[in-house]
Amino acid sequence: MALITESALSVDTLLREAHDPKAGGIVIFCGEIRGTHFSKKVDYLFYESFVPMAEQMLNNILEEAKVKWNLHFAGAMHRIGRLEISDCAVIVVTAHAHRGEAYEANQYIIDRIKQEVPIWKCEYFTDGTHEWGGSCHCVK
């Protein structure tokens, strides 16, 4: 399941689909809005996306991960529009017979979402300025 939506995200939706008698390990990753960007205070974030292409690419990433790790389930949702501090922006759920593969696949999926899927964040700061993209410490 790959979904880009303006609605609030629900872990339950993906978790329900992930349950499988053959899956002993289910990993859930939630990416939430951080209130600071280095030394700047964040007011809110705005996400936009090229939705048709983003959902297609997200689907492809999930299918690749399922094959690569032999997952019982892989699903991801990303929210767009205005998000407040501590709102959930993205959820990735992976299910495998064992936890090691479920963790590894989950990290692979979120890394590829951040690097490839056409979704962009704009951070609006409390000082009135804003900045597109690049909030991850690994790219600064």
């Binding site: 990303h78 979402i113 690097q115 056409p118 979704i119 962009w120 964040k121 597109w132 993209g133 991850c136």
Partner: protein
């Protein structure tokens, strides 16, 4: 030939979006990037790092744009 430019995020802010432009027949993505940079030099850095799609399919620098195409400009992703 006429094409439509649809840009996102920082490129949209710098260049605008949803507008038509005339480009030479057989224009490639690399040539379009140069044309747009010349018209809006402040967008040059973002255009340089952006991916382009022709009618919703990612296109390389040497891909030729077809008449009436929608060309999407996708700056580096920052989801998550």
């Amino acid at each position: 030939m006429k094409i439509t430019i649809i840009a996102f995020a920082i490129v949209k802010e710098q260049l605008g979006s949803g507008f038509s432009i005339d480009v030479p027949d057989g224009c490639t993505i690399a040539q379009l990037r140069s044309l747009l940079t010349n018209s809006k030099p402040e967008a040059g850095k973002a255009l340089q790092s952006s991916r382009f799609a022709i009618n919703e399919t990612l296109a390389s620098d040497n891909a030729q744009i077809v008449p009436d195409a929608n060309v999407h400009i996708l700056p580096p992703s920052s989801g998550g």
